[in-house]
Subunit: 356 residues, 2 copies
C-alpha cells in the first residue's frame, strides 16, 4: 500500500442529469449522481483513478466477481449544512473498514491518499447532488470487485475499486418490526461476518423474505451456534434499552463494527447514558419485555441512521414495544443529525468538510 | 417454474477461435469455447434463452451482484468417448443443485426444459471443443447473477442465467498437501454452506492463502463451532481411508452435496468397499495416522475429479500419508473415468449423451 503520487484523470459529463431527478421522491439507491470513480489494480499495483460520467461498463462473463463473490463495499454519507458546505461523516472509519474487509477477502488494500483525493474530487464535481435539509444526504458507495477473467476458484489478479454516489432521503421511513433468528444464521466465528463482504448480504435475502412473509421487516441475527444471543440486523447494529441503560453486543468476528454504532455509544456516554457492551441474551430481552423494563429497541446504520423497532418476534410470540416519552432513539438520531448537518459543535471531530 | 415453450435464439460466431487454443497446454478456466448462453429474468419470468458468441457484456456499476453477492453457480463436465460422442455426467444433479442454491439466495429457480435445451444446443454448437482422451473434458459453468441496478440491500428484481464453457485437462495435476482448519471457518448451521453461493468461495481465499504460505495447497474445513470435525475442502468433498473402510462426512447445511462424492460412494458400494458416512473427528484421523491405520485421504470434485492428499497438518504437526498399493483414490478415479468416457457399462445411468 505504498503512497503513490498519481494524478486523478477526470472526464466530466457533457450535460448534468440532475434536473431529471425528483429529489422529493427518491427511491433509495435508484438515482446516481453524474460522475463515478474507478481505479484498476493490475500487475501488482493500483493505477490512476478515473472519474468519468456514471454509466455501464463491460465485463466478461467469466469475471471472478460473478462466480466467487470476491467483493467488498462501504456505505457512507455526505451532508450539506445550512451554509452550503458539504461534510463527510467519519470517512476515515469507512476507509479503514474497507481495507479490513478487503484483507479478509484477499483483495489488495487501497491507498489512503487515492481514497481521499478521489472521493473529494468526486464530491466537488457533484456538489449540487448533495441537498441540504434534514434527512437529505448523498449516499456514497465505495466498492471493490475482482475483475480477472477465469473460472478457477482462486483469488483474482486484478480488481476494480469504484465509488458511485446517490442522493438519498431517510432510508426507512417507518418504524420496523423484527424477528429474532432461530434457525438461519448470518455468520460464524472464523468467517467473514465482520467484513462488508458482498456474499454476507445475498445470504440474508431468503431468511429476510421468510420474515417478511410473516409480517416482519427485518431479521435480528443471533449467534449461529446457540441462537441464544442477539447480534445485529442485516445492515444495522442493534441497541436495547432496559430501564435507563443501553445494551449492545460487542463487535467480534461475526459482527460489523458499525460507524453509527460507535458514534451512538460515544454520544450516549457524552450524555451520561450508561451503555453496556456485552453479549445480549434473547432470554434477558424477553424477560425484560415481560416485566415492562424493555423500553426500546433500535437499529443503527449509515443508510437507516436510527431505526425504531416497534415489536419483535421470538418462538412464535410477538412482543410489542411500549410507547415511551423521551425516547433514546429520537435523542440519538437528533444528536447525530445535529452533528452531521453541522448545527452543533463537532467535539469529537467527526466531520470532514469538502469545499466546493 | 412453469414450463414454457420458448425457442432458443442462436447467433453463431463468424469464425471459430478453436485454432487459437493450445489444447495440450490449458490453464484451467482461461479459454472459453466459441459460444455462451444467457437468459434474462425480468417482470417475474424467464425470457427467451440466447446463444451468442462468447464475449463481454455491459453492466451498470450499481448492478446488485457486485454489491450483494446474490449469485450462484454450478460446475459440470462433458466428455467425448472414443466413438466421438459427447456425454454429460449426471447433469440433472447439477440442474437440481443450482435451483437449490438459487432458492437459498432468493433467486428464482430456472426451468428444467430451458436448462437442458439450451445446454444441449450449446454443446452441439461447440462439439469440437470437447476433446477425446483421458483427462480431457469440457468444463461447463452455469451461473446466475442478480442484475437489478440499485444499491439497496434487498433481492434483485432481475437476473441473468448464463452458461459458459471451457476446455479443460485434469484440474490438479499434482497431489496436494492440506491443512485442517483450526480458526477460520467456511460455513455455519443455518447459513449457505450447502449452496454453491458465490460468496462462499471469495471467503475462503484469505485462509487458503495463509495455508499456502505455510506450504499447504488447500484447507480442509472443520465445523465452525468446535473445529473438531472435518467437513470438506474448498471445491472438493473429502474421503478418508482407515484400514479398508472409507469415511466421509454426511452432507448438511454446511456441506455441499457433491456429485462426485455421491458417485464415489455408489462406486465404492458397487465394489464392496464399506463407506461410513458419519461426522469425521479430527482426533480419530490423527490417531489413525499415528498407528498407521490411516491409508489415504482424497478429495472429490468435478474440476479435480479425485485429488490425492499426501500429507495433512493440524496443530503444528504434519502427518505424511503412507504409500499404499492398490490405492482407493486410483481405483475410484479409474472407475469414474471409465464411466465418464463411456468405456464400461453405465449401470447407474449417469451419462447423458448429446448427439452432434
Ligand atoms: C451488517 C451490517 N451491520 C451494521 C451496519 C451499520 O454500520 P454503519 O453504521 O457503519 O453503517 C451495516 C451497514 O453498514 C451492515 O452492513
Ligand atoms: C464447496 C464444494 N464442495 C465440494 C464440491 C464438489 O462437488 P462436485 O463433486 O459436485 O463437483 C464443490 C465443487 O463443486 C464445491 O464447491
Amino acid at each position: 500500500m505504498e503512497t503513490q503520487s498519481l494524478t486523478i484523470q477526470i472526464k466530466k459529463v457533457e450535460k448534468s442529469k440532475i434536473n431529471e431527478v425528483d429529489f422529493n421522491n427518491l427511491a433509495f439507491g435508484k438515482n446516481y449522481a453524474d460522475h463515478m470513480m474507478y481505479c484498476d489494480y493490475k500487475d501488482g499495483k493500483w493505477h490512476t483513478p478515473q472519474i468519468v460520467p456514471y454509466g455501464p461498463m463491460e465485463f466478461h462473463p467469466s469475471t471472478k466477481v460473478f462466480h466467487y463473490g470476491q467483493a467488498v463495499f462501504e456505505g457512507m454519507k455526505a451532508f450539506k449544512d445550512d451554509h452550503g458546505t458539504v461534510h463527510l461523516f467519519r470517512p476515515e472509519q469507512n476507509f479503514e473498514r474497507i481495507n479490513k474487509s478487503s484483507k479478509r477477502l484477499a483483495i489488495p488494500e487501497f491507498p489512503k491518499d487515492l481514497f481521499f483525493e478521489s472521493l473529494e474530487a468526486l464530491i466537488k464535481l457533484d456538489y449540487n447532488w448533495v441537498k441540504p435539509g434534514q434527512g437529505n444526504s448523498l449516499y456514497i458507495r465505495p466498492f471493490v470487485i475482482a475483475t480477472e477473467e477465469g473460472v478457477a476458484a482462486a483469488p483474482s489478479d486484478s480488481y476494480r475499486f469504484m465509488i458511485i454516489t446517490c442522493p438519498s432521503q431517510a432510508y426507512y421511513n417507518k418504524p420496523v418490526k423484527v424477528l429474532f433468528a432461530e434457525k438461519f444464521s448470518r455468520s460464524a466465528n472464523g468467517g467473514v461476518g465482520y467484513a462488508k463482504a458482498a456474499g454476507n448480504y445475498g445470504a440474508q435475502f431468503y431468511p429476510t423474505n421468510l420474515a417478511k412473509s410473516k409480517g416482519y421487516d427485518q431479521v435480528i441475527w443471533t449467534d449461529a451456534n446457540t441462537h441464544d444471543y442477539l447480534e445485529e440486523a442485516g445492515t444495522m447494529n442493534i441497541f436495547f434499552r432496559i430501564g435507563d441503560k443501553l445494551l449492545t453486543a460487542p463487535t467480534s468476528d461475526r459482527i460489523l463494527d458499525g460507524v453509527t454504532r460507535k458514534s451512538v455509544i460515544q454520544l450516549a456516554k457524552d450524555k451520561g447514558i450508561e451503555v453496556e457492551i456485552a453479549p445480549v441474551e434473547v432470554k434477558r430481552i424477553k424477560d425484560a419485555a415481560k416485566v415492562g423494563e424493555l423500553k426500546e429497541i433500535f437499529g443503527t446504520g449509515t443508510a437507516a441512521t436510527i431505526a425504531k423497532v416497534t415489536a419483535f418476534e421470538h418462538a412464535g410470540e410477538e412482543f410489542p414495544l411500549p410507547e415511551v416519552d423521551k425516547e433514546y432513539s429520537v435523542l440519538m438520531k437528533d444528536s447525530l443529525q445535529d452533528i452531521q448537518y453541522n448545527r452543533v459543535e463537532d467535539k469529537n471531530n467527526w466531520l470532514h468538510p469538502v469545499k466546493p
